[in-house]
């Protein structure tokens, strides 16, 4: 069984303690969200899990066959056009060039990009389109584990929903497992099987919420209802410092 296991993870930047004693397990086919205020060490945690940072203390065991990362900013290569940007991960996996291009074109179309955009460079795309390309690049390699670092935060509501529904469809087919980082509780409730609440200074997990209703059956009413419920939670109020407002 593929899974991602994090045990007793601590992390420091210099003398500043960023993360303290993080433990969780992400099973195949499930979605785990880590929510918390900005600057709470969420991105560091995700980078550690994806081995973009070296683990210093504790353990990160990743037995997933493949993984890919969608960043908060699109991080496209400015000197490559849309299709070549999407194909990057495929080519790195050793897929033949012609096949990589073909698969990239197909996925670009499902992500709402148009044929006329394919030859464009990132400078000629809007922010939302760049994010679509970045998403397509992460998903075209068919990762069994997807790392998401607040990829929806800069998008308008429509596009956000569109990309989320692509993910929900994949989740329903059990094609993908997701480790998802966000500060948006509604987003987390829409997508996750489990939500971990990360409190800052240093980042440590204070509470766990579970949702069993399949993602595809969660409608707006459900999401709003659960959001309202979770916002009453004492730990949430404390972590996000909601009282001050």
């Amino acid at each position: 069984m593929e899974k991602l296991e994090v045990k007793g993870l601590n992390h420091h930047f210099g003398f500043t303690e960023i993360l303290r004693d993080i433990n969780f397990t992400l099973e195949k086919g499930s979605v785990l969200s880590i929510v918390g205020p900005s600057g709470g060490g969420k991105t560091t945690l995700l980078h550690l899990c994806a081995h973009l940072l070296d683990v210093e203390e504790g353990e990160v065991k990743n037995s997933f066959e493949s993984s890919s990362f969608a960043f908060q900013d699109a991080r496209l290569l400015p000197w490559k056009n849309v299709i070549d940007n999407i194909a990057l991960g495929l080519l790195a996996d050793g897929v033949k060039k012609s096949e990589a291009i073909e698969r990239s074109r197909t996925i670009a179309l499902t992500f709402g990009l148009e044929e006329s955009d394919f030859e464009k460079f990132p400078k000629d795309l809007s922010g939302g389109m760049r994010q679509r390309v970045s998403f397509a690049r992460a998903l075209v390699v068919k990762p069994s584990l997807l790392f998401l670092d607040e990829p929806f935060s800069a998008l308008d509501i429509g596009l956000k929903k569109e990309l989320q529904s692509v993910l929900i469809e994949m989740i329903a087919k059990k094609e993908i497992s997701i480790l998802f980082i966000t500060h948006d509780l509604m987003e987390a409730i829409r997508l996750s099987d489990e939500i971990l609440l990360l409190k800052a200074d240093p980042g440590h997990i204070v509470k766990k919420f579970s949702y069993t209703l399949p993602q595809s059956e969660r409608d707006d009413k459900y999401v709003y209802g659960e959001s309202a419920k979770i916002l009453q939670d004492a730990e949430i109020i404390d972590t996000f410092e909601l009282e001050l407002r």
Partner: protein, 260 residues
């Protein structure tokens, strides 16, 4: 291959866009002619006379021989700077200590006037090819070095992280992530290095050798042969413009299409 075809395909459109530049050159020549009418032939020969002299010179084998010598020296000097500057600049860029230490040395190299180098080179190497080539290298090497250094120092850490997340193999990292970025810095530095080399070669020749375009310029000066002097200047500027606008600029446009 596809790339070369694309350059050739876009070339006519590029040339067509040059009418504005040509108009401005003609305007300059008109001003030049006005200067001739005001100050007379000795001070400023007319463009017509200059171009006639130029035409005659280009059919004179001796002159062609001098041009060849200058071309050889400039090419040697520039080639050496290109090689040394690019390689050392890249190396220095990859190591923080090296780039920190090379900074002041580059400032000294850039700050030292070429004319001082020529005097030193004349003492060290005597009158001849070596002096000229040395001066060219000393003048254009730091420009290219700084370009390569900057290119390497400014590599984008975010893109590097992205490359890491997709497990890009090293050759893809080099070709797709590092190279285009570094090239966008190093290529303009090659262009300015070439311009510098072409200017310095003539100056060094004028002072330190008895052949080449620079030496011919010195002879024209001593004989008060203003048309020949101006024709030589036209040769220098014309060749530089040819290299820059006909060869390098179209190349640069294709390579940097992605820039905003």
């Amino acid at each position: 291959m596809k790339f070369i075809i694309k350059i050739l395909k876009d070339f006519p459109a590029y040339l067509w866009s040059g009418w504005g530049s040509i108009a401005s050159i003609f305007l300059f020549i008109a001003l030049w002619d006005m200067g001739n009418q005001l100050y007379g032939d000795l001070v400023l020969p007319s463009p017509l006379e200059t171009f006639n002299t130029l035409w005659m010179m280009l059919h004179d084998e001796e002159v062609l021989y001098e041009i060849n010598i200058t071309l050889y020296r400039a090419a040697m000097g520039f080639g050496l700077s290109l090689l040394l500057g690019s390689v050392l600049g890249l190396l220095a860029g990859f190591f923080a200590t090296a780039s920190m230490m090379s900074r002041p040395i580059v400032t000294i190299l850039v700050g030292m006037p070429p004319i001082a180098w020529i005097v030193l080179a004349m003492i060290w190497f005597g009158m001849g090819d070596d002096t000229v080539i040395f001066t060219v290298v000393v003048a254009s090497f730091p420009i290219i070095f700084v370009g390569a250094l900057q290119g390497t120092r400014t590599l984008d850490g975010d893109l590097n992280e992205m490359a890491k997340s997709f497990n890009l193999p090293w050759h893809m990292k080099f070709v797709d992530i590092y190279f285009p970025h570094i090239f966008s810095y190093i290529f303009p530095s090659w262009v300015s290095g070439l311009g510098m080399a072409w200017k310095i070669v003539v100056m060094a020749e004028l002072l330190a050798t008895s052949d080449g375009i620079g030496a011919s310029l010195a002879v024209a000066r001593s004989q008060l042969d203003t048309p020949t002097a101006l024709a030589l200047v036209v040769i220098m500027i014309g060749s530089l413009m040819f290299i820059e606008y006909i060869i390098l600029e179209p190349l640069k446009r294709e390579v940097e299409l992605w820039r905003s």
